[in-house]
Symmetry: C2
Subunit: 271 residues, 2 copies
Amino acid sequence: MSNFIQTLNDAWQRTNSLLCVGLDPEPSKFPGALAGRADAIFEFCRTIVDATAPYASSFKPQIAYFAAHRAEDQLEQLIAHIHANHPGLPVILDAKRGDIGSTAEQYAREAFERYQADAVTVNPYMGFDSIEPYLEHAGKGVIVLCRTSNAGGSDLQFLETGGRPLYQVVAQLAAQKWNASGQLGLVVGATFPKEIEVVRGIVGDMPLLIPGIGAQGGDVQATVSAGRTANGTGMLINSSRAIIYAGKGDDFAQAAAQAAKDTRDRINAFR
Amino acid sequence: MSNFIQTLNDAWQRTNSLLCVGLDPEPSKFPGALAGRADAIFEFCRTIVDATAPYASSFKPQIAYFAAHRAEDQLEQLIAHIHANHPGLPVILDAKRGDIGSTAEQYAREAFERYQADAVTVNPYMGFDSIEPYLEHAGKGVIVLCRTSNAGGSDLQFLETGGRPLYQVVAQLAAQKWNASGQLGLVVGATFPKEIEVVRGIVGDMPLLIPGIGAQGGDVQATVSAGRTANGTGMLINSSRAIIYAGKGDDFAQAAAQAAKDTRDRINAFR
């Protein structure tokens, strides 16, 4: 059985990369050569995946971009393609699900059985019993929202409770109460490097999924120095738009590869 | 253009019902006659909808139950069926989405353009800018999680911040800051009638979606007396499993109709 945390640790070592390539396909941004193709979403993502795989240690498709276009079948195909052609690079399904236990069981089946993802992102607002059903899928990873990269993240996550902001309480719950099975990770946005450092202090070596270094403007050096573990890993540093839309013409695959390579190297310069 | 809040108010008056029938289809619980049918999920839900429509003022399909079975097309068909055959009964897509703005735009397209839902449930953990893109769909409803019906809901929602539990802060934000366009509602579980009363006090006449009176054990009298507005409405009182699985054999439609009628009447006895 595959084990997400182990696969991820192996991938970090083997690829010498902390880069997670985010797959947020928007047909209106695709190069002209793909226009009109029924499988344009799959074909765009597949091309990006194959071009960037040498520089990445994981991939993160965002399900909303597929669902808005009735392209669930292309998402299934894409994840199967990654597993078949890039074994050892885990796939995180970015879905941010959150619901009561009986419904969470269905979402877990969606992520792990239907899509064959190695890990899924989930929302902590409904508490531990909304997270537990995912953990029953042994070996799969569950990455809990903690401190998100958007401005509005502060609306709730920064509220003080028991002398510390809510996001730190989520980090504590995740590290101290919810992670008996060792399957958890946390989402902490790169737009807030100081908060990455605080979270790292709370959660030990737990993997952190860190979006926000590309289009959202997070600082790479500050992110890496705040989030790395003792062996210089521990982070899935995600870039989506800045990589997949690096080129707008028929050279989009080469442009994405170059952007991925540059991002990996910028990250590695500070490890 | 349809307007969710207006349609809902009209439906409460016209149907004299506060019942929202939740559609959580699980093929393993379907009657034998549907076994093996490729459209079993649609057919089960359609039958339930047509049988219970005389006693309901809204329907709430839960998307996870469709997604786990690759049945998105059947969910589209089902919502189209409700609009065509039961006009004036709004459809709330229970999806509990929550993501940064650019992704939330895609989820909003999924809910409102693809599925043609009248309203969608969303998660507040990522703050207002994760809710705004849904509000840009004029007239559509956005129902924000506040106090959920599950036991683990207390993990975060009961944390004290600024002298009150987090769920009350969410209610305040929703009522006082986030609802300029008048499209919002809140989810408050029936398992906590006292909290429904507190939330009602904070949010005025805002619609409350109240799950938990059926299989989850919430008390109908306490719920109604805590949540009703001055004109005896203001609530979408949801029952899913207790209605749709009221019968297990080929009489499941009649059993569901009877359960829906009984639930409506029990609610009305306390309005």
